[in-house]
Symmetry: C2
Subunit: 197 residues, 2 copies
Amino acid sequence: MATKTLEILIDEFNKLPGIGRKNATRLAFHMLSLKTEEVEKFSEALKNAKENIKQCDLCGNYSENVLCDICADESRNNKLICIVEGSRDIISFEKTGKFNGKYHVLLGKIAPLNGITPEKLNIKSLLGRITNDDIEEIILGLSPDFDGEITTAYLVKLLKPFGIKITKLASGIPIGGNIEFADVATITKALDSRNEV
Amino acid sequence: MATKTLEILIDEFNKLPGIGRKNATRLAFHMLSLKTEEVEKFSEALKNAKENIKQCDLCGNYSENVLCDICADESRNNKLICIVEGSRDIISFEKTGKFNGKYHVLLGKIAPLNGITPEKLNIKSLLGRITNDDIEEIILGLSPDFDGEITTAYLVKLLKPFGIKITKLASGIPIGGNIEFADVATITKALDSRNEV
């Protein structure tokens, strides 16, 4: 028996990824419990983000300027490109503080079953960067899931002819992970890629 | 390396209950992936809900009119009041389709440690309803947790002098629940309240 306006708000929350009906209801009620200014702040943050955040002309990362902060940062290594699926992955890589190169955001993964073909991804501009710049290494930083592996295989085939060093993230048991609970594919991979110590 | 506007949006999502930093980031990025109209729809739904939804003058439930749909519904039993903590609980009760009375929303539970005393709850108007109307039964529909039990005990003491029948929701093993995983308090309660079959 939610009111109509409340139903609409619940519906909007329900559209968000990973937010079910129950959770959406909880969030909508939470919003009603806030001060008007707080709700307006949230509402403004949404609109501002959508209005001001565009894609970096060079790498496809989210940016408020023509070039994103990373592409504009001259202290970073221009000859090293890490290819990622989305801007969110960049945040994960940056957190490590161990990568000083640039990125290239594909804006998705190849998923033929969902109609996402290579043409729909941000690959053309990647080829432009490779031809123009003096790239030394390309790191394929895609998740080792089904679509990620397809995309990685496609990119390897596409990029090999350029004669640039191409590397791929290591797979294995996650740090702090438990072998008992690791899946067969991960253990197999960890065995295959075992290192001498 | 999220942009500043994006950081603000992530912060806003992060303020929501049960939404951690990672999830907030995911939701903010999802918003950026939507069409501008869709973001505006969300943003409007928030503001509209906050602007138009007030509290029912009689029971305290969320309402867009002076009286909520339930209080305004003359086909419902006026002599039966179910006391609940919040409007969300009303949705849960209504889903059962088994309750045809009215509600009274306390707008919280007594929690002395958090400074929530009976005076801060919607109790005064409850007493008004009891005095004015010809109530036959009051159902205490609060969650059987610590604060809920305190509130129930308080209300029992407060309402007893009116000579109205007061009932309380049954506690026990949830339907479909597993005795193996039920906690001691619940099993004890289920044993104490066992029924002859």
